[in-house]
Amino acid sequence: MGKAPEAKTASASPQNLGGRAAAEGAGPSATPAGSARRFRPSRAAGVAFLLGLIVTAAFALTSLGLYEHNESHLLRLRAREVGSVLTAVVPSVQTPLASAAELADATGGSPQKFRVFMAPYVGPGRQFASASLWPLRASKLVPTAVLGTAPFLASLPAQAHAFFAHAEKSPRLNVLGILSSAHPSLGFEFATPGVAHGFAVYAENPLPKNRRSSLASNSAFSDLNYALYLGHSQSHGALLVTNVQHFPLTGRHASTVVPFGDSAFTVVVTPNGSLSGTFFANLPWIIAVVGVLVTLAAALMTDRLQRRRVHAEQLAGALDRVATENRRMYTQQRSIAQTLQHALLPDALPQFRGLEVSARYVPAASGIDIGGDWYDIVDAGAGQVLLLIGDVSGHGLPAATTMASLRHAAQAYAAQEYRPATVLAKLSSFVDSTPHSYLETALCALIDVDAHRLTLASAGHLPPLLITGNDGHFVEVDVGAAIGVTSDAQYQETTIGVPPNATLVAFTDGLVERRGEILDIGLARLRDTATSQRLTLEDLVAKLARDLTSEHHRDDTAIVGIQWQN
């Protein structure tokens, strides 16, 4: 009985849902209003947000690491470049001094020649601020010729002595170091060793004020801060010059050492900006910001999806409740319909002399519909009994009401002592006078109790089973058209003699009909079940109802048994 209830379910649902939605909207626990007041993200959204942040952080940190590594590498390259430039500058200091020393040796220390040679190198904006010629074998260690400013060394005899004593043995540029005084200067010397009357050429350069000197903004190294030290030390005392105001240099730095005579320059550089460019410097931040935005969007979307899912689940729950409610309603309706069905069937079968009668109605197992199966047994007078059994196609109230009117009409015809064929023909024309789309099969049997005679007519109905002892067979009846097919249907009667104590079982197709099985198999099953053991009529009908119908039965079933008592 699938379709009809399903259709009702479908039409009932929207109504119920509407009612439910209205009730929820009015309820105090209405969730939409609650979420509008305060945003509480779902757990999945939180997880998505956290994952997004972790991924973003990982990308940003990786980018930062790569940037740092790149910056350090670039800085080392820049420091090396600075070193190369300094290395190129060293000869411009060393060469004039070496040449002047050679000249002094060759000219016996001529002050005149010395001045002429050194003049282009000394003065403001030139290589040296001060240059002087010192005879090393003289009794007193004083310069014999001075160009530019007076050398500070001349005012420090002890230091001069020690310096030149050391320098005499050294065939290269000797760096005196930073002369500590009010005006610190850097001194360097070149002497030609191994010559009897050796001369040393000494030069000095003052250090810039506060040892600070800026780079020109168009310089190749304008992107660097630097500090230049004398020697290998990076102590404050060894600082020659720097361009930063707040010394020492902090942060990322790289250093390089350039040989300078018997000493060296140490250059320390730090970047004063990003060496690889603004974009790469900002890339980690760009990644972080974009990542957080994408994460937020993803979290919001997850939250929305989660809410929709919860909503769908709530909806499914509501539908489930509606379905449960519908099931309850249909169960109720079904029991109403069954009550009606039983009301339409005879309460108690009439008793007839010499004849035992038993009947059973088994409703279909599922669905709300009641069947159209019916039966009746009426006294036809003159020791005769009229048995009627029928099956109106279709279920539900229309079938039940049709069944009721047919039953009453049949009773009327029986009362008029019509023969079975006449009853069926009259029923046929009765049905056809009303608009209908159903069929009815019916079997009409006139039983002559004392004469043991049976007269049958069938309107498309299955033949009854006649049981004698252990033998059973279906009575061969001339089958006419089912009632409701044509108004002028004609029916043939079949009359047979009945052995003593015989049993007649009339039934509707629910007892024998099975899906995927030809009817004859069902009929044989009925015959075998009915004759398998000797039973009282009451027990036989009960057994057939029990064994040949099941709780999955989709058609209702009527069984009527009649037994001659002699």
Binding site: G2, K3, R515, H553, R554
Partner: protein, 109 residues
């Protein structure tokens, strides 16, 4: 009861086609019972509304038919003169026979 297991709801599929003679054919597959009779009834009504001279029910793929299903066919036979059944299975054929409807619902030769 194992033999009753097949007593479960089936489904009816209704296809329509045209015979070479121009007669409409309703091809029924599955099970025609009280549950599916309504659907067939609606389809039949839409066809009989056009007053065809013939109507053929192709039952070659119909596994089961109960009295409610037959009622729809008989109803069609009342409205259209030339209703024929095509290739019914023995099961369906026997139902038609036992209900005394062989003349109302003739099987196509």
């Amino acid at each position: 009861m194992a033999e009753l297991d097949s007593d479960r709801p089936g489904e009816l599929v209704i296809d329509t086609a045209l015979d070479p003679t121009g007669a409409p054919i309703l091809i029924l597959s599955g099970e025609l019972d009280i549950a599916s009779a309504g659907a067939l009834e609606a389809t039949v009504a839409s066809i009989t509304a056009k007053n065809p001279e013939q109507l053929i029910f192709d039952l070659s793929r119909l596994r089961f038919m109960d009295s409610a299903g037959i009622a729809v066919l008989v109803d069609a036979a009342r409205k259209v003169n030339g209703v024929h059944l095509r290739d019914p299975s023995p099961i369906v054929r026997r139902v038609v026979e036992l209900m005394g409807l062989s003349s109302v619902l003739p099987i196509e030769s």
